[in-house]
């Protein structure tokens, strides 16, 4: 299948490109830099004013996986708007004349902000906070307007971990565990977090492609599907790595809050079945070795 990937140089995009190429898809990266994981790269800056015209000249794909994003963290407002909203608008404008069968957008559970109840399902208020959560939500809304042209599947991702990922809290734990360093867990290790190994995301994308949801616009939460504390993540990881790290819960508070997503819609609509925590950490530990 002819598939485009945006954001191919990020962690999720790279792993997606590698996975889809390995599964015999013809993967074109739309990227300002060469993306070695893809079959080929079309050099394009999705935030440039002429991006829609560049896209219009390309042969239409069957599926677009839109993973281009400015990731959470510090940065100028303008950069979040440019990467998360403006790039999305340019992409769909460029696809209007020859729309793909489906666009899969890797969004984020951050669109829920700090929910009053967990687990949060897709009907929960989604406004996000500026800049990251809100701009990702706005990109979702733009894609919703495109459903008359293409089936849209929005996958709201939790924190994603895997080899070569630098950003997630599980990867931070792994770096300490690999060095057998002590691990301190804030809020006594009782904080509930939602995280997935990248391979679960790859399977979710596979399932979207092979058995897409029935509706023309679908939002699906992805996540571990269970109330899981940072202590449980840390213990499973230390066990999987055979690490000698001591795990110490400390009272210090954190600005983070308890969160996990209701994934029943993804289970039902794309047969999403995340690995157990123990299995997930084994896969991750094998990657790290």
């Amino acid at each position: 299948m002819n598939i485009w990937i945006t954001g191919c140089n990020g962690f999720v995009g790279t792993r997606l490109a590698q996975h889809l190429v390995a599964n015999q898809h013809d993967v074109t990266a739309l990227s300002p830099q060469d993306c070695t994981a893809a079959s080929q790269t079309v050099t394009i800056d999705l935030t440039a004013q002429d991006a829609p015209r560049v896209i219009e000249r390309l042969a239409a794909p069957e599926v677009v996986v839109h993973a281009y994003s400015k990731e959470p963290g510090p940065g100028e407002l303008i950069d979040f708007v440019d990467a998360n909203v403006h790039a999305t608008s340019n992409l769909i404008e460029g696809l209007t004349q020859q729309p793909p069968r489906m666009i899969i957008y890797t969004s984020t559970l951050s669109v829920y902000g700090r929910p009053s109840l967990i687990p949060v399902d897709e009907a929960g208020p989604a406004g996000g906070t500026l800049p990251y959560g809100a701009t990702k939500r706005w990109a979702e809304q733009l894609l919703e307007t495109f459903q008359r042209y293409a089936r849209i599947v929005v996958l709201r991702l939790p924190s994603i971990y895997g080899a070569n990922q630098q950003e997630s809290f599980v990867d931070n734990l792994a770096r300490a565990a690999q060095r057998d360093e002590p691990i301190e867990l804030l809020a006594r290790g009782e904080l509930v977090r939602d995280a997935l190994h990248i391979s679960d995301v790859l399977r979710a994308v596979d399932n979207c492609i092979s058995q897409p949801p029935a509706e023309t616009f679908t939002i699906l939460n992805l996540g571990c599907g269970k109330r899981t504390t940072t202590m449980e993540y840390a213990r499973a990881l230390v066990d999987a790595l055979g690490s000698k790290s001591d795990i110490t819960p400390v009272d210090r508070v954190t600005s983070d809050f308890d969160f996990y997503a209701d994934i029943s819609a993804a289970r039902q609509q794309i047969a999403f079945a995340p690995m157990s925590l123990a299995d997930s950490m084994k896969v991750y530990a094998d990657e790290l070795r």
């Binding site: 991006a51 407002l77 909203v85 999305t88 608008s89 404008e93 500026l130 733009l142 307007t145 008359r148």
Partner: protein, 370 residues
């Protein structure tokens, strides 16, 4: 006397605001790109000569920074405004409205002790459908009508709970936002940007959610926006106004002088700081009736053409609840349609109307009218 920047200050609403500010003794600088679709390639025809004029794009960070020199108050009115057009010139709308606002806000934040207030133009379009009430279920806040319903030419809103027909009621600011066009999404983004950044940096921000604005200086040269202007333009050209659905959809038409009133009040009081406020009249009128009023006023015996087609993303009814504007701003709409329409038509008669057929054809080409 304050030093005030008005982005989009050469446009329809912006130029009226500039006039009012200058009348009140303020020093005004205008930043406006003079977009050809609005200004027809001509210079700034409505720009107050006492205003300082900078031509350029609000996305140009250097220019915006320059435009903010010495400024204490910003009226952010620059925006691309065609709902239908936004659905195929998507990048252009997001660039101008989202990216442009982000550029402006970053420049404002860098000068934050200097900027005392930001007034941003928002839009009723961000609500999507207005508020409704069901006899059986009470208040309901429906999303857009499903495609199957529209294909059946069943236009009125069904209660999402029991399926009975729901009645439109005034829409207040607490109604959840369901923007249904790229334009509406971009206006929602603009408003939220300004309010969130304002709160974060203690820069008082007032977001004014305009309902359907009409009045003199409305660009007849722009066939993509403003139902009064579009209908008037067609009538002047001897053509029937084309009305989607059955013409019984209602809107809240507010005269531009009442929009100016709200903008002046937003500057004079701090009671609406950090708030979004509806600016309309609270009185609904059907699109058919507006068409007939315009034809009558222009002495044209031309009936509207009811197309029974629908336009992607269109809503059925939305009329403002202006309680918050009354309470916080002391706003009271002064111009009734019966007075405002003749004034609009005096303006219209002096204008060369563009043919709107192309705009409709573009919508049909993109399958946005069915």
């Amino acid at each position: 006397m304050k030093n005030i920047l008005v982005t989009g200050g050469a446009g329809f609403i912006g130029s009226h605001i500039v006039d009012a500010l200058i009348d009140r003794g303020h020093r005004v600088r205008v930043l406006d790109a003079l977009v050809e679709q609005v200004h027809g390639g001509a210079g700034p025809q409505h720009l107050n000569p006492k205003a300082e004029f900078l031509q350029g794009d609000v996305c140009d960070a250097d220019l915006v920074n320059h435009a903010l020199e010495g400024i204490e108050v910003v009226y952010h009115k620059a925006a691309e405004v065609g709902v239908g057009q936004s659905m195929y010139e998507i990048g252009r709308y997001i660039r101008a409205n989202d990216f442009g606002t982000a550029v402006l806000l970053e420049a404002i934040v860098k000068r934050r002790p200097q900027i005392k207030k930001l007034v941003v133009a928002s839009s009723m379009s961000i609500y999507g459908e207005g508020a409704y009430a069901c006899d059986k279920c009470g208040p309901v806040q429906p999303k857009l009508r499903p495609l199957s319903q529209l294909l059946d030419r069943d236009w009125e809103i069904n209660c999402p709970q029991c399926g009975a027909k729901a009645k439109p009621v005034p829409t207040n600011e607490d109604k959840p936002l369901f923007p249904s066009s790229v334009y509406a999404i971009s206006k929602q983004d603009q408003e939220q940007f300004c309010l969130v950044v304002g709160r974060a940096y203690n820069i008082p921000v007032v977001a004014l959610r305009y309902f359907n604005v009409y009045g003199p200086r409305q660009a007849l040269s722009n066939p993509y926006t403003g139902v009064c202007a579009i209908f008037s333009g067609r009538l002047l050209n001897g053509e029937s106004p084309m009305i989607f659905e059955d013409g019984e959809q209602t809107r809240d038409f507010v005269h531009v002088s009442d929009i100016v009133q709200a903008n002046m009040l937003a500057l004079e009081t701090d009671k609406a700081d950090y708030e979004a406020v509806n600016i309309g009249t609270g009185s609904p009128i059907s699109v058919s009736d507006i068409s007939l009023m315009l034809a009558q006023g222009l002495h044209k015996d031309i009936k509207p053409q009811i197309t029974a087609k629908y336009r992607e993303g269109d809503i059925r009814h939305c009329v403002a609840d202006i309680s918050r504007a009354r309470k916080l701003l002391g706003y009271e709409p002064k111009v009734k349609l019966a007075d405002g329409i003749p004034e609009l038509l005096d303006w219209v008669r002096q204008q060369q109307a563009e043919n709107t057929t192309q705009a409709t054809a573009e919508l049909e080409q993109h399958q946005l009218v069915r």
